[in-house]
């Protein structure tokens, strides 16, 4: 990693340069909230955004994608290429970059998922520092910091950016479009001070110390029944989550039944039929068991494989859940707190 300093005013040039070269996706305003969308000029970027409606994962793992096309008559696959557009994901907050790292674990190891992997390889990630909001709790997992998973990361130091660069491509781009200097001792000091200041702004100090164990120990706790009664079974939490990766696969054929495609779409373990098999057996038939599974898998199932929890504390599910189910309250309650 190399550390550079660039003037804040030159951000415009950087983005302008990128836009001319590649597809650039970044946070833009929509109906009073923010979304990651393609931009045509730097002015559209809203880098003071709080949290986007959907995380950037949709650009690597789209809500719906065709995996292959085929001819029905002779079961011949006519197109199994992965279609990828090289692009820059601009302005990602540390939680979302951490989210990508967690997705990387699933999709780029054992049985590499070519769709995700190809897009990831063709995506340049430029991060941006943030200010915690009401619903953020990335501090609980340490995902308010990010050390890899991006090419360039911009930390706001008021009049200038402290720029962390991890890839040759990132470094070249930076040099090509903006003037920048090596970071000095003083800059580094300022940088650490800035991150410390940000840390103090977090609304929650969540105790997660016994989490996996508690999930086992409290597996039969009435907590889950209560959550099951409240849960709307709508799956909104999974859709907005930067780390949920479950999917469904369906075949679609043309009306003439000659050709078809195999399509995968985002799925959610909160849907009633998620674990149902033929002959009417459903391994998680009630909402309580499904809400529980979401936590069980995130804070323990995934952890048992990849040594990290499958949550980055972005708070999107907290905001999306009309029933008010939030990791913060669930975890607090599990840990024996009052759960607010």
């Amino acid at each position: 990693m190399i550390f550079r300093i660039m003037d804040k005013t030159s951000l415009h040039e950087l983005v302008q340069g990128l836009v001319e070269e590649k597809e650039v996706v970044g946070p833009v305003a929509r109906n009073g909230r923010f979304v990651f969308d393609r931009i045509a000029h730097p002015g559209e970027l809203k880098l003071d955004y709080d949290t986007t409606l959907l995380p950037p994962k949709k650009w690597l793992f789209p809500p719906e994608e065709s995996m292959m096309r085929f001819r029905v008559a002779d079961s011949e696959i006519v197109d199994d290429d992965v279609h990828v557009t090289p692009r820059v994901l601009f302005g990602l907050h540390p939680c979302d970059i951490n989210g990508l790292l967690l997705m990387d674990n699933v999709f780029t190891r054992d049985y590499v998922d070519p769709y995700y992997a190809a897009r990831r390889a063709a995506t340049l990630v430029i991060g941006h520092s943030c200010t915690p909001t009401e619903t953020c709790f990335c501090n609980a997992w340490g995902t308010d910091e990010v050390n890899w998973g991006f090419d360039v990361f911009l930390t706001d130091l008021g009049d200038r950016y402290f720029v962390s660069v991890t890839s040759a491509e990132g470094s070249e781009l930076l040099d090509r479009y903006v003037e920048n200097q090596p970071a000095t001792e003083a800059d580094i000091k300022e940088f650490t001070r800035a991150s410390r200041r940000a840390r103090e702004l977090f609304p929650h100090a969540l105790d997660t110390s016994h989490l996996p164990m508690l999930l086992e120990a409290k597996f039969d706790s009435p907590i889950w029944d209560r959550l099951g009664e409240a849960c709307l079974g709508c799956g909104a939490c999974s859709m907005v989550c930067p780390t949920c990766y479950c999917f469904d696969v369906r075949d679609r054929t043309s009306v003439d039944q000659k050709s078809g495609e195999r399509v995968r779409t985002w799925d959610s373990c909160q849907f009633a039929g998620f674990s149902a098999v033929a002959h009417g057996e459903n391994f998680r038939a009630d909402r309580a068991s499904r809400v529980k599974y979401r936590y069980y898998h995130k804070q323990w199932g995934y952890l048992s494989k990849f040594e990290r929890v499958l949550c980055v504390g972005c708070g999107r599910c907290t905001r999306a859940c009309l029933a008010g189910i939030s990791p913060v309250t669930v975890i607090t309650e599990l840990e024996g707190g009052d759960g607010e």
């Binding site: 109906n31 799956g235 003439d256 029933a323």
Partner: protein, 244 residues
């Protein structure tokens, strides 16, 4: 062999049948895949004795309809219900149970008009329905998807889950965030939260999702001090049969 298909309209506004014709680009393929032997809206051919697939729009609102759909069920191997009227009663069922009042209201007398009337009901109250294409109106592409599955003999693909997930995928801002009530929470998914995307809360035209937590919605509303009765009445616009 192309299956023979008969398309029928009961009490409805024909909007769903019109939607079939609105799949202009796919019509040739559709007509190639199906042998439409009866369709009053589009053809003078009279109803044959036998056909494989019946596509039925509209609610059952007169005695004649009851016998009719039973006869259809006996003839057809596959019955497809299209549109809110056929699937959940829809707007016709908003007329409710005591029709005499309504008749008097509209016609000024109760005898000799609206003959054979009976409280409107969805198709599934009388006959087994194999496939449903919900919505008011149906979406032409969804219809084509179902027809394709009928042709292949595959199961009914209709979703049992509520709408919110697809609303999130569409990156709409939730109506509840601005203090408005939206019925998507309990409505059957599949339309992509079309109305919400266009700035209007969902009215549950696709019916209530089997996987919905209605009690949960009631708590959400209570939490927000919403008037439960108003919401109940709104839910009943398309789903008057589903007391909540």
């Amino acid at each position: 062999m192309r299956p023979t298909v008969a398309i029928f309209g009961l009490a409805s506004d024909y909007g769903c049948q019109v939607q079939i014709t609105n799949a202009e680009d796919d019509l040739p393929a559709l007509l190639g895949a199906l042998d439409i032997v009866y369709w009053q809206l589009a053809s003078s051919a009279s109803l044959p004795e036998e056909y494989d697939v019946a596509i039925i729009e509209g609610a059952v609102t007169i005695e004649e309809h009851v016998e009719f759909v039973q006869a259809v069920r006996e003839t057809a191997k596959v019955v497809v219900a299209i549109g809110a009227c056929a699937v959940c009663g829809g707007i016709p069922a908003l007329a409710g149970e005591s029709l005499d009042e309504r008749v008097l209201d509209v016609y000024g007398r109760v005898e000799g008009v609206a003959v054979g009337r009976r409280a409107p009901r969805p198709l599934s109250d009388f006959i087994a329905v194999d496939y449903t294409v919900p919505g008011c109106p149906i979406d032409a592409q969804e219809f084509l998807g179902v027809v394709t599955r009928v042709l292949l003999g595959l199961s009914d693909p209709v979703s049992d889950d509520p709408l919110c997930a697809s609303c999130k995928v569409a990156e709409n801002v939730c109506f509840f965030d601005s203090g408005e009530v939206c019925l998507g929470v309990v409505t059957r998914a599949g339309c992509g939260a079309r109305c919400v995307g266009l700035g209007r809360p969902c009215m549950a035209c696709r019916g209530i999702a089997p996987g919905a937590n209605r009690q949960g919605l009631a708590s959400v509303l209570a939490e927000r001090d919403a008037d439960l009765d108003t919401v109940r009445r709104r839910l009943a616009i398309y789903n008057s049969r589903e007391g909540s």
